[in-house]
């Protein structure tokens, strides 16, 4: 395939129809921007969820009358669960000490209270590599069934809410991705069709002198790929500026700073650019197939 000529023709088509091609690129960029917006939101939410999950602990309260010699085997059993990162045993005495610490100067309130009135417990930290709200829930449920366990506590509501929220956002990301692909492919293939109309005589003559379908289609496919790529690149740059601008306004508070928000990672950006280019090309190929009766 003579690539040089295909490039030359593709750029000639774009140059001779520059306004239409720029408009198309803007439409592609706007669609990409919607997708990028949702992606930033979703990715950062995921990051926050990860951090939250990392710090989230499950507290397993044991029955007060549990014999001391049973503790090590329970400890072993919990440590061997694959969701578990770290387990810490808090004895009744230690729990009481914490309470004393908490009251500090007003220790008197605890005078006369049995130092063993609090149940012993395990504090479990979840391994964040396998963190997943539904797993945490399942695990808490399982632990609650053990005969030695009195009660299990974890950030249940938080976990549930975060879960349904990130699911909704992920659905939005997928929906916007589909929107991006369909719209971009449709708009670009239509612009290319206009170019094909304008080149009908030339295409007819190229056929008569023995041009292959690849040779005839190549420039159009390349032009559409270029549009998909430039559209998404423009969107990524505009998106970055918008992100910086918004962050400049809201990013001053300690809370936001502690969340450690980020723009899209480079690999994600590369995927957006390639997928955008690729789908614009597929849309065009399908349009050409019908149009050129290949």
């Amino acid at each position: 395939m003579p690539l040089g000529i295909i490039f030359k023709r593709a750029f000639r088509d774009i140059r001779q129809n520059l306004v239409t091609h720029i408009m198309t690129t803007i439409v592609v960029a706007l669609t990409c921007l919607v997708f990028i917006f949702f992606s930033i939101f979703s990715l950062n939410l995921q990051r926050i969820a990860d951090r939250f999950g990392r710090e989230l602990a499950i507290v397993v309260y044991l029955k007060k009358d549990i014999p001391q010699n049973k503790i090590p085997s329970l400890y072993q059993k919990i440590t061997s669960m694959k969701e578990v990162e770290k387990v810490k045993f808090i004895s009744s005495e230690e729990a009481f000490k914490r309470l004393e610490n908490y009251f500090k100067d007003e220790k008197e309130v605890l005078e006369g209270v049995d130092p063993l009135f609090l149940p012993p417990s395990f504090e479990i930290q979840i391994n964040r590599a396998v963190y997943n709200p539904s797993r945490v829930r399942a695990m808490a449920k399982e632990l609650a069934q053990w005969p030695e366990v009195q009660k299990v506590q974890y950030g249940k509501e938080w976990v549930d809410r975060l879960e349904s929220f990130s699911e909704a956002v992920r659905a939005a990301v997928i929906a916007s991705a589909v929107l991006l692909l369909v719209t971009a492919a449709f708009v670009v293939s239509n612009t290319i069709k206009l170019t094909v109309y304008a080149r009908q005589d030339e295409i007819e003559i190229m056929r008569l002198v023995g041009a292959t379908n690849g040779f005839i289609q190549g420039p159009f496919l390349l032009a559409s790929f270029i549009q998909g790529v430039t559209g998404s690149l423009v969107a990524l740059i505009v998106g970055l500026f918008c992100y910086k601008y918004v962050y400049g306004i809201i990013g001053q508070t300690e809370l936001i700073k502690s969340l450690d928000l980020q723009y899209l990672p480079p690999s994600y950006m590369a995927v957006i650019v390639l997928v955008s280019g690729f789908f614009c090309m597929i849309g065009t190929a399908m349009a050409l197939r019908r149009f050129l009766k290949l």
Binding site: P2, I205, M206, V209, G210, F215
Partner: protein, 225 residues
């Protein structure tokens, strides 16, 4: 009928029917050998263009078989048609030029589709354009040329890729006597270099004294003269 591998164009029982009363070709059997120079003649509307169009598969016969260079055209898939067209250089009666492109670009098209490199392509195009006497107008747009000049651009484009078969559909239709004879001479040169040529014309003076084969189309029949 066993002309072996020497036959480059063969028609068996070929029929072309546009409408019940328009039948340019009726059961035509014909063999043209490699390296032949054949005049195709007949009154206007007899079917000369139709005959040629079927040879590069721009038109399908309504019956019979056409074999070019050993290949039955009805067996060609769409993706194989380019291979046929590269073997067959056509000078179209209506030129089929890109009028807003230069002479160079028009002629270069035949080589571009073959993937020629830039320098080699430019050399070849210059050489052929010089051969048809248009060197001084190489970068003119075709629309600025006279009818006769356009005709010669069409000829240059048809032969620049050195096809083994050349189909010329009234290639002298717009030329004066002097230019007409130049075109005939050009075709004879190409023929001398091995190309098989079918030269369609209704101008009898071109073949009146020729020793070459003349095919006459009329009322759906092709007769030898």
């Amino acid at each position: 009928m066993l002309s072996g591998d020497q036959s480059v164009i063969e028609l068996r029982e070929v029929q072309k029917k546009y409408a019940p009363d328009i039948v340019p070709l009726e059961n035509v059997n014909l063999t043209i050998s490699k390296g032949e120079f054949v005049f195709l003649t007949g009154p206007s509307g007899a079917g000369k263009s139709t005959f040629l169009r079927m040879l590069y598969k721009a038109e399908e016969p309504t019956g019979g078989t056409i074999i070019i260079d050993g290949v039955d055209l009805s067996s060609l898939s769409k993706s194989q048609i380019p291979q046929l067209r590269r073997k067959v250089g056509v000078i179209f009666q209506d030129f089929k030029l890109l009028y807003h492109k230069s002479v160079f670009e028009n002629v270069a098209l035949s080589l571009e589709v073959l993937g020629f490199k830039k320098d080699q392509l430019a050399n070849r195009v210059r050489q052929v354009v010089e051969g048809v006497g248009l060197s001084s107008k190489l970068h003119r747009k075709v629309v600025q040329l006279s009818g006769g000049e356009q005709q010669r651009v069409a000829i240059a484009r048809a032969v620049v890729n050195r096809p083994p078969i050349i189909l010329a559909d009234e290639p002298t239709g717009n030329l004066d006597r002097k230019r007409t004879m130049e075109v005939v001479t050009l075709m004879e040169e190409l023929n001398a270099r091995g190309a098989t040529i079918i030269f369609a014309t209704h101008d009898e003076t071109l073949f009146k004294n020729t020793h070459r084969r003349v095919l006459y189309i009329k009322d759906g029949k092709i007769e030898e003269r």
